[in-house]
């Protein structure tokens, strides 16, 4: 059984995980496409993305989801402490074709202490890009020490 470094007893409902900023550009998306095997052209081909009705190239939902997980796993101290994790992709992260790309801001807050014995807590995650919420119902359940 593996557990996180952060203590269940030290956490309260309302405990906040500090907001983090992640920058994503086209090169990051190409790299992620290669690493994940998701080569859907909406994530790298502007012409194609626009043809299917998107404003521009968009980040893989799973890429944004991975960065949001990272905020939680770094806080917990052990990525293997994640018991459950889910998000809804409410709006695409639109990634312009420049060196700056898009900025994603991610934070989280403990919203429940679920089980004193299993030492699990629930965190609600917020993720925004260009002032819009990009993940909805983003929740993680983490097992703490």
């Amino acid at each position: 059984m593996t557990t996180a470094k952060i203590s269940y007893d030290a956490v309260e409902v309302g405990t906040e995980v500090p907001m983090r900023e992640f920058r994503v550009n086209r090169a990051d998306l190409v790299r992620y496409a290669g690493a994940s095997g998701d080569f859907n052209p909406i994530h790298w081909n502007e012409k194609f993305a626009k043809e299917v009705g998107l404003p521009d190239v968009i980040a893989h939902g799973a890429y944004t989801m991975a960065q949001a997980a990272r905020v939680v796993t770094e806080w917990a101290g052990d990525p293997g402490a994640l018991v459950e994790y889910g998000v809804r992709f409410t709006r695409p992260v639109v990634v312009p074709n420049d060196d700056k790309g898009a900025l994603i801001e991610i934070g989280a807050k403990v919203t429940a202490k679920l089980d004193d014995e299993a030492r699990t807590v629930r965190l609600d995650i917020t993720a925004t890009s260009a002032g819009q919420k990009v993940l909805g119902r983003a929740r993680a359940v983490v097992r703490l020490v």
Binding site: M1, T2, F22, D28, R31, Y32, G34, A35, S36, G37, D38, N40, I42, F48, V52, G53, H60, G61, A62, Y63, M65, A66, Q67, A69, R70, T73, E74, D78, P79, G80, L82, V83, E84, Y85, G86, V87, R88, F89, P92, R137
Partner: protein, 156 residues
């Protein structure tokens, strides 16, 4: 055109095992810019009680997505238009983290098919097991095939 409801409950055969390598995990973590040593350094992983490096939590999606893509999305009988597919939502339940040396097999199941405003909404569950047959994780994926403009016009 709405997808055939009779596909709900369809279970596809387990995929051939995917062998998880250290370098693949490293490549994935690097593509995220995630420098946590537990993904790249076996010593750091062992310090947390793992036998080898573990993968970032969403790594599992690359395996379940491939399975769902090859078997479900490209199922000619189902007839989903992949060029219009976007990821609607995604959830994972983990029994343990994926680690280097794993041989993982995915069983994909169509949980539901819905049609909303001309969009086809497909929910696919991926049950991931290791070589010993032990459960590693379950992936719940919702894919949305957005309506083509012409079809939206028709549905108005």
């Amino acid at each position: 055109m709405a997808l055939d409801q009779s596909f709900v409950g369809r279970t596809y055969p387990p995929t051939a095992a995917y062998e998880v390598g250290r370098e693949k995990i490293r490549e994935f973590a690097e593509s995220l810019g995630d420098t946590n040593p537990v993904y790249t350094d076996p010593e750091a992983a062992r310090a947390l009680g793992y036998p080898d490096v573990i993968a970032p939590p969403t790594f599992i999606f690359t395996i379940t997505f491939k399975a769902a893509g090859k078997q479900v999305v490209e199922d000619p009988q189902l007839g989903l238009d992949y060029s219009r597919v976007v990821h609607g939502d995604q959830r994972f339940e983990y029994t343990r983290p994926v680690r280097a040396g794993d041989h993982l097999s995915v069983t994909s199941i169509i949980d539901s098919i819905k049609s909303l405003a001309g969009n086809d909404i497909l929910s696919v569950r991926g049950e991931v097991h290791d070589k010993a047959g032990d459960h590693v994780a379950t992936s719940f994926t919702t894919l949305v095939a957005r309506a083509a403009d012409a079809e939206v016009e028709e549905s108005r």
